[in-house]
Symmetry: D5
Subunit: 119 residues, 10 copies
């Protein structure tokens, strides 16, 4: 599914490419499906990135994340794949994705992954 997913994402030119400022985007309405049990998972994704040449368009990000709604995928895998898709598209200077999932069996999991451009 990787290929079609990143075709949904749109970008726009970074309006201030000379200054390394930070954009933080919180998406508390992420949902996917547990590949083992078929039960839905729910989480909050928080992207924090320093734009390179491009910024992500918010509505397309929302539609991109909705593609996971009925997809069976593990927490660790989803977090890393979404980060990879956005890094591949935006070439940011730096991007962190923190994915905090709701409790299952009394246990709560948060996965955090970071991409850092080589200098």
């Amino acid at each position: 599914m990787n290929a079609p997913l990143d075709q949904i994402l749109e970008t726009f030119e970074n309006p201030h490419p000379g200054r390394p400022y930070t954009v933080r985007i919180a998406c508390p309405e992420f949902t996917s499906v547990c590949p083992k049990t078929g039960q839905p998972d729910f989480g909050t994704l928080v992207f924090t990135y320093v734009p390179g040449p491009k910024c992500v368009e918010l509505k397309s990000l929302k539609l991109y994340l909705q593609q996971y709604r009925n997809l069976g995928i593990y927490y660790e895998d989803a977090t890393n794949r979404i980060l990879d898709d956005l890094v591949g598209l935006l070439s940011p200077r730096r991007m962190t994705l923190e994915a905090a999932f709701t409790a299952r069996g009394g246990i709560t999991t948060t996965v955090t992954a970071t991409f850092e451009a080589e200098r």
Copy 2:
């Protein structure tokens, strides 16, 4: 609109220029208009700066920010432009502007930009 905007801002002499102290100004009543949809945007701007020769006068800052009330402008652009206007006027030692906008489509965005004077 950039030119008239910064004519509204007033300054006063930094009363303690020898000490690099910090001023933090929170403005939770910022509003502008989305250039794409024409819908109003709302946000909280927080300025944190170490004054150089001048400090910003608070009432004029409020009037300056009100100029954005009916202006169509994107988050990233507004944040960087406002920072530029204040840096140009005040020549601070350092200034950060954090602009936290309210949720749209379930997604919340915060843009943070920093100016640092060369030493």
Copy 3:
């Protein structure tokens, strides 16, 4: 869809039918689809009921609510339909359903409906 939905719900005998006690069940992971825009909606459903002859089995309630995951339905309609399904199944002495949906366009909606058995 009404017919198949309530076949998923299971019940068990009220173990203390003589005492009018209260059961409160909070389901913060409800999601359905807006029939107008096709976008997902998210909400928290809170059931509060005084059992009659039967209690609702929690796992079946969870599976029942998951049937709405990809169903297009308005807030007011979903709240009243779910209440009707549960009342039909359980014949409670009293049941209230409060459905609090997340913000859309900066506006948050909560729908609350109550069934009261005739005495």
Copy 4:
């Protein structure tokens, strides 16, 4: 301005007119202008109503409230006028509007008005 304002509001048929359920709509992004000082005011409007034959459509409510963005009007007047507009349009069984404005001069004001249909 009263006449054009209520032409913006749209309604839909109450899908469950037989049951007196409650709809609560919170709008934290209300802004108008102080008629005395010309300065913007900000507030959160919370509508709580028991629908009669009609419900208010949320997007049109949002557009209706935006008509106050550049209108000079006092707190007490705005609260009562908005309530009157909605009651005239929806003929609810009961409607309360609570309007909580942000602090001015260290003082915070909340105006609450209620309409109750005669029985």
Copy 5:
């Protein structure tokens, strides 16, 4: 001091005298002086009233309360006197004043008084 104090308070005509709506005014910056120790006291005053023919003008209320800044007066006395001044001026249908003072010697005091018009 009672006489000059209430000359500072200004009123305006109730714009919706036919409807018994509620106005809540919170003033967290009240300060007076303890008549026993000469130390300053601090408190939050909250007025809740159903207007009769007149409403209190907010800026004049602020100036009126500032008259207590250097006045020696006990909690119970201040609360009742301020209520009396406002009731005398506004002839409300009902008015409650809740005055919550900050801790002294580890003890926190709140005084609440209510006026109800005879019917």
Copy 6:
């Protein structure tokens, strides 16, 4: 198990039997076992009662509740049984037990039962 359980509970004479005062006891460390899955359940029990001739001794209440640690029992049943045990022992004027269990499968359940002495 009912018989041995209430032998653990101890009481003491109500020191002020003439006045109908209230005692509220919160026990956030309740745990039992789900009879279906064998998994542990966790909850907070809150007793609120108006003592009759006797009060419950706190340490014995703690030991009594620990008897449920490895017992398989449903929420509704545990709540009603514990209430029955205490009412049988204390003959209170009134007693409510609110049992709030932690989330399972994203769903949180609270059971509340009340005993009221006949007058």
Copy 7:
């Protein structure tokens, strides 16, 4: 100890005896000793009363409560005795004392007693 205790309490004339207003006094620094274990207990006492002819002087209330610092007494007894002492001294129209003690063995207890003058 009852006799000497209430000699410490001082009163003053109710300055507005005609109006039944409420005084709420929170004392979060109460401490006594458990008569069984000799360990200190800690609690927050909240008095809420409608004054009759007299009000309690706050500093003397503080000194009165300090008399319990090294006294062995049970929760239920302390709450009722303190209420009795204050009622005997002040002849209030109504007085409630809520005493919330900190957790012991994971269990938290709050005792609430009320005096109501006969009418």
Copy 8:
């Protein structure tokens, strides 16, 4: 008991071994027994680790922690032993275990231990 305990824990292959991302797992339902008093202890365990070749499977972690339910063990010992078991199984790059136990005798204890792989 050490040997059988770690046979319950299951692992799965780290799906993104090339990137040093972080997994945070919060388990608020840990309970064991005090070896001195025989009374149950309650705590929240938070694991934060950077996976090496393997990740811990969540359901098996839950079952592993349940083995402590009726085991007598001190706070400091439990924390270090659980960390050792997980490090031995997972060979993480880094792992911290923070164990926050509930109050006993008014005193709350948190034990935090860290393993760092040699580089």
Copy 9:
């Protein structure tokens, strides 16, 4: 006014001059007057310092700050002057003063200044 002000402040010998420990003093009841409008300002001052030879006596600090009650002074000036007075008196190893003022015109300002002794 600078001269008389610091005559009010009293000090005592640092009882542990050999250890660089920290003292944090929060004063939420600071009030002065705006020199422009004559309106009162309110703020919370937080001092954090590592004592040198002397510590500040708390009651004298309270009296010192009360001298600003009716003094017209700007935020930035008050913060720096108070820091200077205390540094001059105490010769601390390090002292920070954070002064957080309440909102005016919807804008909140915090001024933070630090003194660091040369080594």
Copy 10:
């Protein structure tokens, strides 16, 4: 009093002396007496330490702190003395004591002292 005090404290062998882990102990029920006014003081002590050869036994720590219940001592002195007593007994690698006292005259004080073993 220093000598008898530290005879109350008990220790036990650090069960994991090879790993520099942290123990945090919060004691919110500390009380002593102001040597100037004779009034009780209240505070929360938080110890954070990396054990050396020994750990402090919690019940003995509680009894040790109770020795201050009727002792007249200043904040700064109590904090440093308690730290010294524990460091002398435990020889920790590092220990911090943060003592946060409740407000007096509207002013709140926190004293923080640290011991660091020489390496």
